[in-house]
């Protein structure tokens, strides 16, 4: 007893007590002050976030509307620019991302949670995979962008370059020939571009479309055979052109002054010009073209009119050529254009700056999040349920498939949806891929496929915000409102699932 007391006295010998008794009033005041400080900081933080939201809403609400959601982007006019391509891009990114990340993520989670090995080496490997995943979760998303660029967009340079892919699936090549009237005809072509494109010749089979289902009635003519026809048409049109010129110049007040061609005068001139012609084309149609052109010349000076007249003559000649039945007459030796048709399932290797590469890159970003969430969901399934299944003679996988997974689905869903909302807002990785402005609807457009270039909502917002034209800031704010609405609904769905299903277990 005495030794204990003395030892206590020894320890405290020569020391002041750490907590000096203080005035209770001071302590109470301190307590109050601290509470006030805490509440003040919390209020300040909330105020800051409220400012953020209101400033964005105030900027952007004016640009919101059906047009904004459904129109294509515009580089020039901030009031025309819409978010539609970015919205569609985001949806496809999300679909690809979910379709790849969820199976791999849930698979890894099951491996880590349900198959715990006993062998020391395997145990070490198991722990290594687990540590690796927590480290992956800490890697900045921009680094995943670099990986995505190397692994998906360029595939480490293994299959040629992004613009000249080494391997394609679902792509067919054609030679496209034009006849004298401007119609197009097709012949099948090899996938490899030849050194010299084959000139048109009579022994080839021409088709009306890339389906190669209808053989076209094509005559391959020497250029000399077409010459008489062209000469005749030129002569006829020349007569009209002369009449037009004279009548047009008669409307001028001074020698060099502008012509005066209001609607009625134009019609008069046109009718006079076509009064006695032996053209084969529909005169009414030619008249319409002419009157339109003439009206456009109203008030122009002599020099400007010369180019306009030339264009009119060309147009008339083209119309007359068509009427003369030059359809299906290809001049021998004319070189075709190489054209490819891509099926909806077209895939190229490497993927390039495509929707597919973007989705896979985002998959890498959210994979650790999905794994961790799925692990937590599986871990929360009571051990007794697994035992029950095993005791009934089920195998390990049967226990997982029919007992553990169904019980863990709400947790996995919640985690996955939250991970998806992270993916939909992620811009840095796909920015590094080179995605950005597109003026078409990716994938959904005619002839679209997963190899289309793309934009995504956060990327579009970034580009609009960065634009030197300050009016694009409002467009960006409107884009942010759309993005936040999508995110909030994702969160709401996640919360709903969590509330509805978690109590059932």
């Amino acid at each position: 007893m005495s030794t204990l007391q003395s030892s206590i006295q020894d320890t405290h010998a020569g020391r002041k007590p750490t907590y000096a008794p203080r005035d209770p009033q001071t302590r109470r005041k301190k307590d109050r002050a601290f509470l006030v400080l805490c509440v003040a900081t919390a209020c300040f933080a909330v105020l800051m976030l409220a400012t953020l939201l209101t400033s964005i809403a105030a900027d952007g609400v004016g640009r919101l509307g059906w047009d904004f959601l459904t129109s294509l982007n515009s580089l020039r006019d901030p009031h025309e620019a819409g978010i539609w391509p970015a919205l569609v891009g985001s949806v496809f990114l999300l679909v690809i991302c979910a379709a790849t990340a969820i199976p791999i993520g849930v698979g890894t989670a099951i491996l880590l949670e349900e198959y715990r090995p006993k062998h020391p080496t395997l145990r070490w490997l198991h722990g290594f995979v687990q540590t690796n995943i927590s480290n992956l979760a800490g890697v900045p998303s921009i680094v995943y962008g670099i990986l995505g660029f190397s692994a998906f967009a360029t595939m480490f340079g293994l299959f040629g370059s992004m613009t000249d892919p080494g391997l394609t699936v679902g792509q067919t090549w054609f030679y496209q020939y034009r006849d004298v009237a401007g119609n197009t005809y097709y012949t099948a072509a090899p996938a490899e571009a030849p050194e010299e494109l084959p000139g048109a010749s009579a022994d080839m089979t021409y088709y009306t479309s890339v389906q190669l289902d209808e053989i076209a009635d094509v005559a391959v003519l020497a250029a000399a055979d077409l010459a008489p026809l062209q000469e005749r048409i030129e002569a006829d049109v020349d007569v009209i052109a002369e009449t037009l010129k004279d009548m047009l110049y008669a409307t001028r007040e001074t020698r060099r002054g502008p012509v005066v061609v209001p609607g009625s005068v134009a019609l008069e001139i046109g009718q006079a010009a076509f009064a006695d012609t032996n053209l084969k084309a529909d005169t009414q149609e030619l008249l319409q073209i002419t009157v339109g052109r003439l009206q456009a010349m109203d008030g122009k000076t002599a020099r400007e009119i010369r180019t306009d007249r030339r264009a009119l003559v060309d147009e008339l000649e083209a119309a007359e050529m068509k009427a003369a039945g030059v359809d299906g007459q290809i001049i021998a030796g004319s070189t075709p254009q190489r054209r490819d048709v891509r099926e909806p399932w077209y895939v190229q290797f490497p993927f390039g700056t495509s929707v597919l590469a973007g989705g896979l890159t985002l998959m890498l970003v959210i994979l650790p999040i999905i794994i961790v969430a799925s692990q937590e969901a599986t871990r929360s399934v009571p051990q007794s349920m697994r035992h029950g299944s095993l005791a009934l003679g089920g195998t390990k996988w049967q226990a997982i498939q029919q007992v553990v997974l169904p019980a863990a689905v709400p947790g996995i869903c919640t985690g996955s949806i939250l991970a998806m909302s992270r993916a939909i807002g992620e811009a840095a990785p796909i920015l590094l891929l080179g995605a950005g402005f597109v003026s078409f609807t990716p994938v959904l457009r005619e002839g679209g496929n997963l190899m289309d270039g793309f934009s995504a909502m956060p990327l579009q917002i970034y580009n609009w915000t960065k634009d030197p034209d300050a009016a694009f800031k409002q467009t960006a704010a409107a884009g942010i409102i759309v993005l936040l609405t999508v995110l909030l609904s994702f969160n709401a769905i996640a919360v709903f699932i969590r509330q509805k299903y978690t109590q059932k277990i």
């Binding site: 900045p140 939250l418 920015l431």
Partner: protein
């Protein structure tokens, strides 16, 4: 003993319906193996991700250090590790004598943004966490926590927009006024009505792009993370510890600061480190609001604290290289991989230190 108990013959159970198909054990085992193989493939994929990240970064960093460049005398040289880690001059896209390959300006630029962000987020986050866990009623907490989680999910490009269109103009407000003087005579200029002409000005002289606005936005972004994780750590401290403190006559302030916070310190520090790692790796905010020139440390070391001027972080440089028209394969292009590798190592260290602290100093209360 002759009346031995005769075993009553049990009639074989006649099942009226078949419960499941009988499968051969071989097929079943084969299926189990295939599925395990698939699951292992998933696990291998995650490891492969790490290996590929390291591979891509290391190979390109290696190429960067081996890539021939022309020095001032037009001799063919390569960038050395000494240049990279020892020089204070970063200008890989420039030509000739003004070219520099020292990483420090980018690291300092990253540090500027991170320090501003953490000066905002850490104290505010911790205070809010203490309030939530020690003072607020469960009702308030049940509202505030989910709201914080939703805000933590707001895309960073939104904070970038906020920094550029709200914070920067706010910082650039000319809130002071001085009487204008005639530059020639030094006398005060007078307006038409005889009163002195006042010139508005701002003593901090913030640029259109500056480290402070970007840092504040990053801080606002990190605030929910710090709050949420610190609050989790504080709440994990058992009730008994608090009650012990109250029993000894402590006030709530004393309990919070002298008992609860020290007990939860490992969790709080881990939360802080996670927030720092997020701030260091943040891209979109700095790409929008921080500008595109790292502090010119080779000219003046004072640039390191010039928070009112534009700066560039490691992530900002990567965006500049990948979105600009720099030809692939050149030394400027490869430099971005080296910067990415540096960034990767810094964030990896932060993650590892955080995990180690949590493991080493975790108090287990049972």
């Amino acid at each position: 003993m002759s009346a031995a108990i005769q075993p009553v013959p049990v009639p074989p159970a006649k099942s009226t319906r078949k419960l499941g198909r009988e499968r051969s054990v071989g097929v079943r085992n084969f299926r189990e193996r295939v599925i395990l193989g698939l699951l292992i493939a998933c696990g291998v994929f995650t490891v492969l991700t790490t290996v590929s990240i390291l591979g891509v970064l290391i190979v390109n960093t290696w190429e960067f250090f081996g890539h021939p460049i022309r020095d001032i005398q037009n001799n063919e040289v390569t960038v050395t590790l000494g240049d990279f880690l020892g020089s204070l001059h970063w200008a890989p896209t420039a030509e000739g004598a003004v070219r520099g390959f020292g990483i420090w300006p980018l690291i300092v630029g990253t540090a500027q943004v991170t320090v501003v962000a953490m000066a905002f987020a850490l104290p505010l986050g911790l205070m809010t966490a203490i309030w939530l866990s020690e003072y607020a009623s469960p009702k308030v907490r049940n509202v505030v926590k989910p709201v914080l989680e939703v805000i933590a999910g707001v895309p960073t490009v939104v904070f970038g927009y906020f920094a550029l269109t709200f914070l920067t103009p706010l910082l650039r407000i000319d809130f002071l006024q001085t009487a204008a003087t005639d530059p020639a005579t030094g006398e005060a200029l007078l307006g038409p009505d005889g009163s002195p002409v006042m010139v508005p000005w701002n003593p901090f002289d913030f640029g259109v792009y500056n480290a402070t606005a970007a840092g504040l936005a990053v801080g606002i972004m990190c605030f929910p993370i710090v709050t949420s994780l610190s609050e989790d750590a504080l709440r994990a401290v058992p009730r008994a510890l608090r009650e012990g403190a109250y029993g000894l006559g402590s006030s709530r302030f004393e309990t919070a600061t002298k008992v609860v916070v020290p007990s939860a310190l490992s969790g709080i520090i881990a939360a802080f480190l996670l927030a720092i790692a997020r701030a260091v790796g943040e891209t979109m905010i700095v790409a929008l609001a921080a500008g595109a020139s790292p502090p010119a440390l080779h000219r003046s070391l004072g640039d390191a604290v010039a928070l009112n001027q534009d700066t560039q972080t490691m992530t900002g440089y990567m965006v500049q290289v990948f979105t600009g028209d720099i030809p692939h394969g050149g030394v400027e292009y490869l430099s971005s991989y080296t910067v990415a590798f540096t960034l990767f190592i810094i964030t990896l260290l932060l993650t590892l230190v955080g995990a180690a602290i949590r493991k080493r100093f975790r108090q287990v209360y049972e």
